[in-house]
Subunit: 134 residues, 2 copies
DNA sequence: CTCAAATCGGACTTAAACAGTCGTATATAG
DNA sequence: CTATATACGACTGTTTAAGTCCGATTTGAG
């Protein structure tokens, strides 16, 4: 419960690796996969999503790979999570899927208190940037 | 990802209900189950765990039920979660299950940065008490 | 031009966690 | 005694995450 998915962890490791390259050099998925023992197919999809979200840029074809697209200081962990998962991490179902998603929504007495916890969680993920991981 | 389990939500709702009773009155699981539309069997087990953890006290037999055991201001959300789940919410597997639990532990470059995020998450759950939910 | 190296993207299978249910035992007020 | 309530474990079904597979596309290099 309240655990980062492997996808996100792999994404963070990969991003750190790419960001640590001097001068925007291109890194291939295989290179990262080998170095960290991450399943290639899985990592590939993570990188594709990060690419689609504009966090990294992809270079197709021979001698292709990935390079950073943004200043590491501008990339928050929450942005990375959203890029990979497609959603923002939320603590309660109704916060992301709406009132209809929860049977007890109407009589639920903990919605508003949980909102405060949620705000703190969000801050936790926003307060760290890629620059602090490298 | 990063979502509270239903058990915890049900537990919070139940605790809020019990805590809102004036003068440590006894409340039955059925009463709560009916009022909030929570599956009885599931709620029962949650209350049993809270009882075992000493957050509430159980009264068996006819006219039995549950009542608060502690000052609501002394019951943190993190305590409630631990009572119900048996574990503390952690962001990464290796933090709870040890180094051996993760294949990439040895080469993982994000362990220590994530520790800081973890600390913030913990604060989020500790900073709210049952008193603030009632 | 051809080929190999790389990203792209969806479908699929497997494994684990979660939500919910069932059955039975135990305690106790009246 | 008996109805009411908690106690506890085993079980099933659903959902989500992890990982795999296959084919398509792009493109630098020979
Ligand atoms: S309504 Fe209450 S119980 Fe349902 S998801 Fe939102 S917070 Fe959780
Ligand atoms: S070692 Fe790294 S990847 Fe493995 S669980 Fe810990 S943080 Fe996540």
């Amino acid at each position: 419960m309240v655990r980062l998915s492997k996808r996100v962890e792999y994404g963070l490791i990969a991003l750190r690796h790419i960001a640590s390259q001097r001068g925007a050099e291109i890194v291939t998925a295989k290179e990262i996969s080998d170095k960290y023992g991450i399943p290639f197919d899985l990592l590939a999809k993570v990188l594709q999503r990060l690419s689609k979200a504009g966090v990294i840029v992809s270079h197709q074809g021979v001698r292709g790979g990935y390079s950073l697209a943004l200043d590491p200081r501008a990339v928050q962990v929450s942005t990375i999570i959203h890029a990979i998962e497609g959603t923002t991490p939320v603590i309660a179902q109704c916060m992301s899927d709406g009132p209809a998603s929860c049977e007890v929504f109407d009589v639920c007495t903990i919605k508003s208190p949980l909102t405060k916890v949620q705000a703190n969680i969000e801050r936790a993920f926003m307060s760290m940037t890629l620059a602090e991981i490298v």
